[in-house]
């Protein structure tokens, strides 16, 4: 395991920050302008803009202009690497548990005394 550099240049670092996770949660329900995000989080607009900038840099959030407003939306495809991590982690536990099944089958047989 290699320690990650302390940058915000990848999606994982970007989502490590709790407020940015909260922004993604809000956007998961639908696109929103920055003032609605600020209201939803109970923080100031400059703070939200700062986090949105990071999220846009790593492609987690996209923006479109709608008249004078800028509307933000989640780009769920960029969360795929995180899903891949979970899938790989799940696979390594599945392999462990497959072996544990074998151990348990033997213990069960021993206990039942049928020596299968």
């Amino acid at each position: 395991m290699v320690a990650r550099a302390a940058t915000t240049a990848d999606a994982f670092n970007a989502v490590a920050e709790p407020r940015r996770r909260a922004i993604l949660d809000l956007l998961a329900r639908g696109e929103l302008p920055v003032n609605d995000l600020a209201a939803g989080l109970g923080v100031g607009q400059p703070m939200v803009s700062k986090h949105l900038r990071v999220l846009r840099q790593v492609g987690l959030v996209e923006v479109r202009g709608d008249g004078r407003q800028r509307i933000y939306r989640l780009n769920s495809r960029s969360l795929k690497p995180i899903h891949d991590w979970v899938a790989a982690y799940e696979q390594s536990w599945t392999q462990r548990f497959d072996r544990l099944d074998t151990v348990l089958a033997e213990l069960t047989d021993e206990e039942n005394g049928d020596g299968r």
């Binding site: 395991m1 990650r4 982690y89 799940e90 390594s92 099944d101 069960t108």
Partner: protein
């Protein structure tokens, strides 16, 4: 003897990992397989390597340490301390990945079920979202390493 299913991994919060799996064995045997060194050696490495050492001091305040040599050649070791032990039901312990001693997690194993069926839930709680993500990513890197190893074996067999 075949598995009842794949391990199910979910992320209940930004600092947690929850692993769930059902087994075709009574609770006391799952507990025994989880706490007996010679049995842990047989399953804990999964397909990733050979478990080289398992130490278990099964009492509250007692320590544990598992080490393995991954097929890729590197050593991987974890250790921790038991915080809570309920025979056949529950194990709470700290968990430290040895290269990163300042990032301990707390894991809670709960066994439920009656008769021949046991469901386990293993909740791993980190102190920060970044630690949790690092833990998750270790599975990815291990998995990729395995894939590369397999690829190498295939490549060798072709020459």
């Amino acid at each position: 003897m075949t598995g009842i299913g794949t391990a199910e991994v979910t992320l209940p919060s930004s600092t947690q990992i929850l692993i769930t799996r059902e087994f075709d064995a009574p609770r006391h045997l799952v507990y025994r397989a989880w706490t007996t060194p010679e049995l842990i050696k047989r399953w804990w490495g999964g397909d990733r390597g050979e478990v080289t050492s398992v130490e278990v001091d099964l009492r509250v305040g007692g320590g544990w340490r598992y080490a393995m040599t991954a097929h890729a050649g590197f050593e991987v070791a974890f250790h921790g301390q038991y915080l809570e032990l309920v025979d056949g039901e529950r194990i709470v312990s700290t968990e430290v990945f040895e290269p990163m001693p300042d990032h301990p997690a707390v894991s809670t194993l709960v066994l439920t079920g009656t008769g021949q069926r046991t469901t386990i839930t293993l909740l791993v709680e980190h102190t920060s979202a970044a630690d949790r993500d690092m833990h998750l990513r270790s599975g990815m890197e291990g998995g990729m390493q395995e894939s590369l190893d397999h690829l190498e074996q295939v490549a060798r067999s072709l020459t």
